[in-house]
């Protein structure tokens, strides 16, 4: 069959899967008084529509920051404002100041889910399609299978369409940036990445590789590089200025926004995350030993150390392949060692793995998706909420089946062992009740297991980045 029809089929399948997941319950459904991320997004629409811009990030009588105050950069706020305009046209009750708190209805759910789908259709899906068709290796058939893998990545679908968030927008913009850089359009790529950064501050996980790659490229080109540097610099400054313009007029505005999006007072980690600090906490209770400030500096130091090798390597060898590896390494490093990491942050590392696909990378990709899902499962157990059983089962089933389908093409023993271990753990966590003095046994086990996998992957990818043999293919990629 022709490529275009296969691509259309993949996109449609991706859309159907997304809608299918969106039938289910969202985060915080029917759970007053705080509800969940869904209510947070709705509340932001309410705040941005009804209040003047100066009040969005401040604690006022009309804007209670304790009830889901805005904690993403301005582009999210503008997006919420746009959605609010549409919501107002359909049903003003949805964004009424104060009275619409905790509003839940089938029509509203439809609207919110539709907004995620529309955002994905406009930003994420085209980026994935273009990237797969232009910048991946292999025959057209192989490109389409990579496209399918990426589109069906369960982590992103479950978070955006189940739990409810708009990660598709920021990841999509980052992907546009990667695509532009891959084609040599550096200024355009920088602009796209600045937009991504202004949408979610989590994209900082990817910022270092972008910086090092572009800087390294400029250095390599000598005099021409200087002009490139100027062009990129101007683009970045202009884009950032444009996004943050309303907040730059008053220094207190800017600092308040920064304070909201980087909450340094919160502590090394909150929930069970499969990263270094949470796992270390099992052996040494770090959070009680160190003060909040020293925790911050410790994590900063460790993150910088972890990211340094790959960034320096990229600076000296700014090829696109190195760039892609550095993206993975940097996001993994940040995930493992950074401050206040949320388990969803693993998305930043894993969603792009199939796009880097060369032989053998399929395995870590599947492993991260599984690890993410199992870990999510563990978190649900820990919260002991009455998540309807079918939702849990569905997640696990989805993960299992997804891995099985991928596994038909991969035959690595250690992969099967991992799957087996994960299966055993999850069955045990449901069937066996933990000993009374260790109530959190299974969630902790699962998250540690996942952490070991992520750490292993981090080491593996660093090794790959440093031992890349100079082959004909990589020569072509130096632009």
């Amino acid at each position: 069959m022709q490529t275009w029809s296969l691509v259309a089929l993949c996109v449609l399948l991706g859309a159907v899967t997304r809608w299918g997941v969106s039938f289910n319950s969202y985060s915080g459904a029917a759970k007053p008084p705080m509800f969940g991320d869904y209510e947070a997004q709705r509340h932001w629409q309410e705040v941005t529509y009804n209040l003047p811009l100066q009040q969005w990030y401040f604690n006022t009588t009309d804007n209670d920051l304790n009830y889901w105050g805005l904690d993403y950069p301005p582009l999210t706020a503008y997006h919420s404002l746009l959605c609010a305009y549409v919501a107002k046209r359909i049903n003003p009750e949805w964004v009424e100041l104060h009275t619409s708190r905790g509003h839940e209805s089938p029509a509203h759910k439809l609207f919110m889910r539709a907004s995620v789908l529309v955002a994905d259709l406009l930003i994420y899906l085209p980026a994935v399609v273009l990237y797969c068709l232009c910048l991946t290796d292999g025959s057209p058939r192989k490109k389409v299978s990579i496209l399918l893998c990426t589109l069906l990545y369960p982590g992103l679908i479950l978070i955006d369409y189940g739990h409810f968030q708009y990660n598709g927008v920021s990841l999509g913009l980052a992907l546009w940036a990667m695509w532009a850089l891959g084609l040599g359009w550096d200024a355009l790529g920088s602009m796209a990445f600045c937009l991504a950064l202004s949408y979610k501050q989590m994209e900082l996980y990817h910022a270092l590789p972008f910086f090092c790659y572009l800087l390294g490229k400029c250095f390599k080109q000598g005099i021409l590089g200087f002009f490139l540097l100027v062009r990129i610099g101007v683009t970045v400054l202009l884009t950032l200025a444009l996004c943050w313009l309303p907040f730059l007029s008053d220094p207190s505005q800017a600092s308040q926004v920064l304070r909201r999006i980087f909450p340094v007072a919160r502590g090394l980690f909150e929930d069970k995350v499969a990263n270094a600090w949470c796992s270390l906490n099992i052996l040494i209770k770090i959070r009680s030993i160190l003060s909040s400030d020293s925790q911050f500096y410790l994590s900063l130091a460790c993150t910088v150390l972890a990211v340094l090798p790959s960034s320096v390597r990229l600076l000296t060898k700014p090829t696109f392949w190195q760039f892609k590896l550095a993206l993975v390494n940097s996001s993994l490093a940040f995930f493992l060692f950074s401050y206040q990491v949320h388990e969803k942050s693993i998305l930043l590392a894993s969603f792009m793995l199939p796009l880097l696909l060369k032989d053998g990378l399929l395995v870590p990709y599947a492993a991260t998706s599984l690890a993410f899902l199992y870990f999510n499962f563990a978190n649900i157990l820990r919260k002991k909420q009455s998540y309807n059983l079918c939702f849990i089962r569905k997640k696990v089933y989805y993960a299992f089946a997804y891995a099985l389908i991928i596994m038909t093409y991969v035959c690595l023993l250690q992969f099967y062992l991992s799957i087996l271990a994960m299966a055993a753990l999850s069955i045990a966590s449901v069937a066996v009740s933990p000993p009374p003095h260790l109530p959190d046994l299974f969630p902790v086990l699962i998250s540690t297991f996942a952490f070991v996998h992520f750490l292993g992957m981090f080491v593996y990818f660093n090794i790959v980045q440093f031992t890349e043999p100079p082959s004909k293919k990589s020569q072509k990629k130096i632009n």
Binding site: M1, L13, C390
Partner: protein
Amino acid sequence: TPGPKMASAVDHWFMALALGVSLLKCLFINAYRSTDFEVHRNWLAITHSLPVSRWYYENTSAWTLDYPPLFAWFELGLSHVGRHFDENMLRIQREAYHSEATVLFQRLSVIATDLMYILATRECCRSVSVQKASKDILNRPSFVLAVLLLFNFGLLIVDHIHFQYNGFLMGFLLLSVAKHLQSQHLQGALLFSVLLNLKHIYLYVAPAYGVYLLRSYCFTKDHPDGRLNWRSFSLLRFFALGSIVVSVTALSFGPFVAMGQLPQVLSRLFPFKRGLCHAYWAPNAWALYNAADKGLAVLGLRLGLVESGPQASMTGGLVQEFRHTVLPSVSPSVTLPSCLCAVCLFLFGWHVHEKAVLIAILPLSVLAVQSREDAGIFLILSTTGHYSLFPLIFTAAAAPEVSLMLLFTLFSFCALTKLHRCSLLGFLERLYLLGVAAVCAVCEIVLPLSPLGARLPFLPLLLTSVYCAAGVAYCFTRLYGSLLRTPGHSKAKTS
């Protein structure tokens, strides 16, 4: 005779497809459910809580048991599993009951029983396998057939959203067809008798079945020139077939005959009081008839020839008997003369449900991967038939269903065209199919926003029904024509 069978190893791609489609079905667990969900829950309750003698008399709830006894036994079996999910679903009550566990159990039961359908699909794929399969998996007839059957849009919508057990039942039909293609006629007959006793709607295909079995199994030899050899009629084989059918039916209906309840059971199974057309018109000939009647009535009103009366309720969504205004009313006996195939009965049958078009589409898929002409007919029938199913899903957000339909339609067009290596549709046919999109646009967007739509609320349904009826009728004519035109072809198939 069918082509030589491929090696019996279960192909990887088939497993991946089966797993993938089951996954997709799981995603629809929490989607819109119709009243059919409550119907089946009620039947679980009836068969579990009441003795057999009361099954066909129970009418606390409006959803009385109206499938043959074998299906009732099937529901009894399910109820024993359902007991572990939620005991309360097995209570007989008038109000609907849908706890989360109930929904989960019932949806999972449909997905699990679809295993029958998956097995049947695999048998059909084996039957269409060719010796020199192309290297490209996507271009093999067995792969295309597997996708067309497993991912059939109509089946997914009706079974996993609207809620029914058609996959399970169609599995029996397809498996029996596959057995016949493999010349294992007695097994095929057994499967078909079981099917008839599970859901009597398959009486639609019974005449064709009967004639086929008679011709190919009971008459053992042909004349050299292909004509029927009347003297080769084998009484033994005829009795073998007959005994299979009779014994299965006896097993199913036996207890009720013994209790003298046969009339009651039959009245439940064949409710002729329900009227010529279902609440929503299936796209069959009676839709055209009704449309003509309505048109003439409106005209008659305008001209003062006819008095106005309670006619607008035809498509009101309720099942009831009604009278035609201008054209003579149609009574059951008029529609009973036997017809030759499922499409024919669909077109002309009494109280046809639009889901019945699936019974025609699925077997046609098997033909479509083998013959160019059938592929063209399949494309038209599946597109119009599937489109006519949309009113079954009353949600505002038909987005997943639309995407699913686009997915299936796109695949069927591209795959079949590539398989047969030529264009399958003529210009007029293409125009007709584009017209389906136009009808969709008019019904979904134009009419709701225009004043005409407010005055004539039944208009979208009527439009859909009539337009699709034209397509289905056209397909029927072509199928009939192709059957009559290739006598050698059909005789070769029966050997």
